[in-house]
């Protein structure tokens, strides 16, 4: 998987390429129009909502939109949020514990799995690689709800089982605690971090360790002095990215944290917008978001620094075979058990509990129940026009935003790499910045923007498409990485042969870029399909998507229907995941 980074080697190569194609004369009017449209769109999708957010934080009173009649400049919002002791006593500590706890759990599990798959003689490694990625099938909101099915204090299956042994009539385990949140969140993020870690482990040149061995260092010395230091930036970068993602999570804190009365940053924003009684507090939400945004961007810069360092360390040469793998010996069984337990809790149990509940409701499974199977969950769903609306909404939003972002991504990447357009560094930076904007902030900012703009998109599917389309980083970076490998002379040859700029792009560049375009499209489609936070914030009767609908069914106590919905979501994602596996997740250099 390609790492996402701001500068480094890419920038140097780009400087070289740009110096060569200086004064590129073949772009023409049509070309510049395309570039201008894409650049303006990119800047708008990212900076538009953000600037509205910044403004809103300083406009009051807090229940008015920033430019509504009666709104004025004020510091009240900031005061209300940042002078509130609750923020320092509860929200920040909770956020820290939740984030650090889950990231540590994620990292420990993902590292062990990645190490087993990449560096040991574990049997069935390729199968294990696929199994570890399985939970990607389940959107976060579905996963969180299945954890409730499993570990709710009274009815959770595991608790029912345990009570047979330890007795009592509630517990012993309770998902509605900080520990429960950490568990659910930590396990859920393992596949993603595993992907990045295994790529980092794989990219290390085995002769670096062999050279240490030859130099007379014992195996332990080699690990301490060579293996770990060389891998460090490549391992820390995923850690930082995981922190960023966990910090912005709304699903787990909402589904599990709310009943547990554990409030964190992301839900704080959500609740300011959906208060039990009052009107939405736009100004206060925006004020909370400011600090959140700063944290996100700081983490992003740290991440970028680490990735650049890791890139300069990558010394894999094409030649040679993988080094001897660490022989597990008698650790083989424990290793396999670890994988089985992981698979059980991350994929098998959640999957089973979801499907079971869609047919039998919430009851603990038994053979006696088999006769009481009911397809009502699905019938109700299929007979409900709102379900079909949600299906079409979900597809429309995911497909259009993926197309828009992929298109803009190509143009931006090409402009950054191949032209000397002044301001392309700004484009580069802004598109990278999008990685540090939490979804909850994107949702809030879009809400403020489109409630204020009188163009009538608020409450439609369109607003979701616009709001989703800020995630420029993935497309731009993936395209840029593969553009780097396409020599500029291939394009110049087409130009010399008489091709107009658009012809060159269409007949030379796009075909060569196909793999990375497909990869970024599929990735963005999946992100869009699983998205919960943005549509939850921007929801209205007409633009509900599947994930939001499932959450509402669950909240309304329609367990069976919620489970059926969750199953349907997974069924929809499966074919796409196979595309993803083919284009993005394939293990380059399998053994």
């Amino acid at each position: 998987m390609t790492q996402i980074t701001l500068a480094g080697d890419i920038q140097r190569a780009q400087a070289r390429a740009a110096a060569k194609s200086e004064g590129r004369g073949d772009i023409g009017l049509a070309g510049w129009i395309v570039i201008a449209v894409a650049s303006v769109a990119a800047l708008y999708f990212i900076l538009g909502p953000l600037s509205m957010l910044l403004t809103a934080a300083f406009r009051g009173p807090q229940d008015l939109l920033p430019f509504e009649d009666g709104a004025h400049w004020t510091l009240d919002n900031l005061a209300a949020v940042y002078l509130d002791r609750n923020l320092y006593r509860v929200i920040i500590p909770n956020t820290l514990i939740f984030t650090i706890g889950s990231v540590m759990l994620t990292f420990a599990v993902a590292f062990i799995l990645a190490w087993l798959v990449e560096r040991t003689d574990l049997p069935w490694r390729n199968a294990v690689y696929t199994i570890v990625l399985f939970p990607l099938l389940m959107p976060g909101i579905v996963l969180s709800i299945t954890w409730i099915f499993l570990l709710a204090p009274n009815t959770g299956w595991i608790n029912v089982l345990l009570r047979n042994v330890v007795g009592g009539n509630t517990g012993p385990l309770n998902i509605f605690t900080m520990g429960g949140m950490i568990l659910a969140q930590g396990i859920g993020l393992v596949p993603f971090v595993f992907l990045l870690l295994s790529a980092a482990l794989r990219s290390m040149n085995p002769s670096l360790e062999e050279a240490s061995n030859i130099a007379g260092a014992s195996p332990l010395q080699t690990i301490l002095r060579v293996t770990l230091p060389v891998l460090l930036p490549g391992l820390l970068a995923p850690l930082i990215l995981a922190t960023l993602i966990t910090l912005e999570q709304v699903e787990t804190p909402l589904v599990i944290g709310f009943p547990a009365r554990v409030n964190v940053f992301s839900t704080r924003i959500y609740f300011e917008l959906n208060p039990d009684s009052d009107l939405p507090a736009y100004g206060k939400a925006a004020a909370v978001a400011l600090l959140f945004l700063v944290c996100g961007i700081l983490l992003l810069l740290l991440y970028n620094h680490l990735i650049r360092r890791a890139e300069s360390f990558v010394t894999v040469t094409g030649k040679g075979f993988r080094p001897a793998r660490f022989a597990l010996g008698r650790w083989r069984l424990p290793a396999l058990s670890f994988i089985v337990v992981y698979a059980l809790f991350a994929a098998v149990l959640p999957g089973f509990v979801l499907i079971w509940a869609s047919f039998f409701g919430y009851a603990f499974p038994s053979f006696g129940l088999l006769s009481s199977i009911s397809f009502n969950g699905y019938f109700d769903l299929f007979n409900n026009p709102r379900f079909w609306l949600a299906v079409s909404n979900t597809f429309i939003v995911a497909l259009s935003s993926a197309s828009i972002v992929t298109f803009i991504g190509i143009v931006l990447a090409w402009t950054i790499m191949r032209t000397r357009l002044p301001g392309r560094a700004v484009l580069d930076f802004v598109s990278f910045l999008s990685l540090g904007i939490p979804a909850v902030i994107a949702g809030l900012a879009s809400m403020l923007l489109y409630l204020s703009l009188p163009i009538g998109v608020y409450g439609t599917v369109m607003v979701l498409v616009l709001a989703y389309s800020y995630r420029m980083a993935v497309a731009t970076r993936l395209t840029r990485a593969s553009l780097m490998q396409i020599h500029a002379e291939l394009e110049e040859a087409s130009s010399v042969a008489g091709g107009q700029w658009l012809t060159t792009i269409r007949r030379i560049v796009l075909p060569l870029l196909t793999p990375s375009l497909v990869a970024s499209f599929v990735l963005l489609f999946i992100i869009g399909f699983r998205e919960f936070t943005i549509p939850a914030i921007l929801q209205s009767p007409d633009n509900q998507v599947l994930s939001v609908m499932m959450w509402q069914a669950f909240q309304a106590g329609k367990t069976q229907q919620a489970a059926a919905l969750g199953t349907m979501i997974v069924l929809f994602v499966i074919p796409v995941i196979f595309g993803l596996r083919r284009f993005v997740l394939a293990r380059d250099g399998k053994d």
Partner: protein, 370 residues
């Protein structure tokens, strides 16, 4: 000093067992420069890695300095870090998280007991000075050019004066000009440190220029082993002859044999050459006459002396200091070098004057038999 006996190494792979090395034996004398030469995939690196201790042989025995370091039959295997060898990897394997000095000092730092800080520094600087890199000691390892990486790798390999120096195609990652320059530099360095060296390359010019002894490998076996000149002049088979410097080969039939010599009639009756013959070749046998381009003198009028082959000019290509000529003898193309002043039209008649003493005769391979 280094003795490799009956070395074998095979790898189980999904498509069956790969025999990378199939029974290699050679001996390297104290202080000498020994080269394993062969085409890609013939097992050179595998052999070298077995000597280094990075691979376990499946069979055979390796002795360094009278100590057996690998002997699977007796369960002996000393891992690399206990062998006291230095190695330059093909990719150089410079550690990116250390600067140049730390890279070079590493073999001393991990040594037990650890020498004093001052001593480590002095010796590392001395090694760097040897390769002309002392001014870059503080440079980050990620900011080195190919040639500089190569020098650092070399300094690191010799810093603790190992018993044996192993070099795996250290020049193959450099571009052509630099490669030539580094070849001389490397040769000089190796001579100066006076460490027994085992060198791996697929470049015959490197092998011939640098080595005291060369082993030509093919398909996991050693085809011929000896001093460069002997191997070049008296290749034992066509593979060795062809691999070392583009030999010409003409088919011929032995007309009559007289004592140690016989006359060979070139196919198509293009000429007769009186050549020394090995015992097993008889009158009437088909043979290949193998000779180097530089041993074929081309004239455009028939001379009085014997040992001439009639040919026609296919093309001459002017290359500055010399002209390479391609001549046709029957259906075979013969290469030779001419003085650049010579000109001739394609199709012109020519004669190749052979020096029988510099021809090597092989019995023709069965499939050439007519």
């Amino acid at each position: 000093m280094l003795k490799v006996e009956e070395l074998e190494r095979s790898y189980p792979t999904p498509d069956g067992i790969v025999h990378a090395v199939r029974g290699v034996s050679f001996e390297v004398e104290q202080g000498s420069f020994f080269t394993l030469l062969g085409p890609s995939g013939c097992g050179k690196t595998t052999t070298l890695r077995c000597v280094a201790g990075l691979e376990q042989p499946t069979h055979g025995r390796i002795t360094i300095d009278n100590a057996v370091v690998a002997d699977p039959a007796n369960g002996i295997f000393i891992p690399a870090f206990k062998r006291d060898v230095g190695m330059v990897f093909q990719s150089y394997a410079i550690w990116p998280h250390m600067n140049v000095l730390d890279n070079v000092a590493y073999p001393l730092v991990v040594r037990k007991p650890r020498p004093s800080k001052q001593e480590i520094r002095d010796r590392a600087m001395e090694a760097l000075r040897l390769v002309g890199m002392e001014s870059l000691a503080a440079r980050s390892a990620t900011k080195l050019s190919g040639g500089q990486q190569q020098r650092v790798a070399f300094a690191r390999a010799i810093v603790r004066h190992p018993k044996l120096l192993l070099l795996d195609e250290p020049l193959s990652n450099l571009d052509a000009k630099l490669r030539e320059q580094m070849r001389y530099e490397l040769q000089e360095l190796v001579a100066r440190v006076a460490i027994t060296t085992l060198y791996v390359t697929h470049d015959q010019a490197e092998a011939l220029a640098m080595s005291d002894a060369v082993a030509v490998m093919s398909d996991g076996l050693i085809a011929q082993c000896g001093p460069p000149r002997a191997v070049y002049d008296k290749p034992v088979n066509e593979f060795v002859a062809g691999f070392l410097g583009g030999a010409n080969s003409l088919g011929a039939t032995i007309a009559d044999r007289d004592g140690g010599r016989g006359s060979a009639v070139i196919d198509g009756n293009a000429g007769t050459v009186n050549v020394p013959l090995a015992d097993h070749i008889r009158s009437g046998d088909r043979v290949e006459i193998v000779f180097r381009p530089e041993d074929a003198q081309v004239t455009f009028v028939p001379g009085a002396a014997g040992d001439q082959v009639r040919a026609s000019v296919l093309r001459l290509s002017f290359q500055g200091g010399l002209t390479e000529s391609h001549l046709k003898v029957g259906d075979t193309v013969v290469r030779s070098m001419l003085h650049p002043s010579v000109v001739a039209e394609p199709g012109a008649e020519a004669w190749i004057q052979l020096n029988p003493a510099r021809c090597v005769i092989f019995a023709a391979r069965p499939r050439d038999q007519q």
